[in-house]
Amino acid sequence: MTDVLDGKAPIVAVTDRASDAAGRAPAASAAAAAPATQLITPRAVHRHRERSAAGAVAARLGGPALIVAIWWVATATGLLTPDVLASPAQVGAAAVELWTNGQLPQALAVSLARAGGGLAIGVSIGLLLGLIAGSTRSGDAIFDSAMQTLRALPFLALVPLFMVWFGIGETARIALVAVATTFPMYVSASGAVRATDAKLLEAASVFGLSRWATARQIILPGALPGLFSGLRLSATLSIIALIAAEEINALAGLGYLMSEALNYSRTDILTVCILIYGAFGLIADTLIRGLERLATPWLRRKGARR
């Protein structure tokens, strides 16, 4: 949230305090009033302006609000007809309908469990393999090219295979989500670990840190921003994989609801599902951002620069 390039930072001189000019004011009396010739007040170019918590939330709600507004205008003006995307009013009605007949609560619970379970498994595997491949030569040799190959196999094409291996039950769905989320985490984690500051690794080796301590105290903290962006990408992909997974013989879940909506041309229900997916994504994203802030206290020192 740092403004790097904006020139519009505020003027530095904060308070023009009524000054007791005695003693500490510049000695030359001619200059006791600020000399106006060509001099400027320096502007702090690169500063952290902390938004209030409420302000930050409001700013982050701007994007979704804008998108909803565009959608509302598009449906109100007929740019989007209800056969394509339902209007906010229709969607509201559909949401109420699904909520009261119990389908939506059930679908939410089921889908959240699947996405969460798959994500947890996938992210753990990706993180572990990524840490190993990024930090050890043998790990790199063993895992990396295999992971890159597997990653290149598109999971959507593997759905039939998954049904065969894991059956058409819950296992296959969770496995699909897990596989889809493993790779972004792996790529981010191994990349972030490889980018660890070599100077700090030297220091670690000199001070006799064990492998484990080096991983925990140096590699991990340095890689955290990368790990969190991997987590965010994985969270998004978990939802895409969930849709594919819930088209496999599902009886419940948002993906099932969505494919049913498509089968019966219920664009209002379809839109409810899309919005819920969007909300899932946003909430996950916000949670991960919060987590990241908590996990990296040293990155948010005000005015820190060394």
Partner: protein, 258 residues
């Protein structure tokens, strides 16, 4: 010890021979010394509970060479950063010229640019590269022109940072311990380069240093910062009526040594 670092704007002298700048030549820039180049009033700076600057005021004239002494952690870098526009004051007024150049306490070279590009950074014009080459020669790094910063030794990196400042012609030059990582001989050479730059362009200079001899050798005026206040402000050093080395060390708390 002659120096030919020319600024990029000075195209007329860009391809003249080494040594044509004479340290004794009359300096036009010094004519308007009376006008201030830095002007502070009632400036406060705090980090949490700690008061780093406590309502300080300061005026530096054009062409004046000021050395700033003070213990480690006393706030010298913080003051410099405020003048550079990198930190903000908590209260008070600051005025500085538009054209400022900083040599940071660490070299701060761009890792993705070779040494030469690090010197010319942000400059435009036909003669920039020539000027930068000359500056690199002056700091003894002509051979490292195409090296990556990551391969430089500590002192080499510091000299590149110095060259980066020398090719510019600022109205205010802010130097944060620019010679700390240099051996005695290189240090003398670099001090001469800075002195030479001052003679030619007459910027106001604020030099942070821990070396009292260096301050006495280079500066017109020496300021000592302690507990948020300027506890000493000696003028006319070069004219001869300044404090002694022992006086200054005393102000810095070193009583036994001389």
């Amino acid at each position: 010890m002659t120096a030919v670092v020319t600024d990029s704007a000075n195209t007329a002298t860009a391809d003249t021979d080494r040594g044509n700048t004479d340290r004794a030549r009359p300096d036009t820039a010094k004519t308007d010394r009376a006008k201030p180049a830095v002007w502070l009033r009632d400036v406060d700076k705090r980090f949490g509970d700690r008061v780093i600057l406590d309502r300080v005021g300061l005026q530096i004239s054009r062409g004046e060479f000021v050395a700033l002494l003070g213990a480690s952690g006393s706030g010298k870098t913080t003051l410099l950063r405020m003048l550079a526009g990198l930190d903000s004051a908590d209260a008070g007024q600051l005025l500085v010229p538009r054209a400022r150049t900083v040599v940071f306490q660490e070299p701060r070279l761009l890792p993705a640019q070779r040494v030469l590009a690090n010197v010319t950074i942000g400059m435009r014009g036909r003669d920039v590269v020539d000027t930068a080459r000359k500056a690199l020669t002056e700091v003894g790094l002509a051979a490292h022109e195409r090296a990556w910063p990551v391969t430089l030794s500590g002192g080499e990196a510091q000299r590149v940072a110095l060259a980066r400042a020398l090719v510019r012609s600022p109205e205010l030059l802010l130097l944060d311990e620019p010679f700390a990582a240099l051996d005695a001989l290189t240090r003398l050479k670099m001090q001469d380069l800075v002195a030479d730059l001052c003679v030619r362009h007459g910027p106001a200079v604020l030099l942070v240093t821990h070396d009292v001899d260096e301050a006495l050798r280079l500066a017109d005026r020496i300021i000592v910062l302690r507990d948020g206040h300027f506890i000493r402000d000696h003028r006319g050093i070069r004219a001869g009526d300044g404090p002694t080395r022992a006086d200054l060390l005393d102000a810095l708390g070193v009583h036994a040594a001389g």
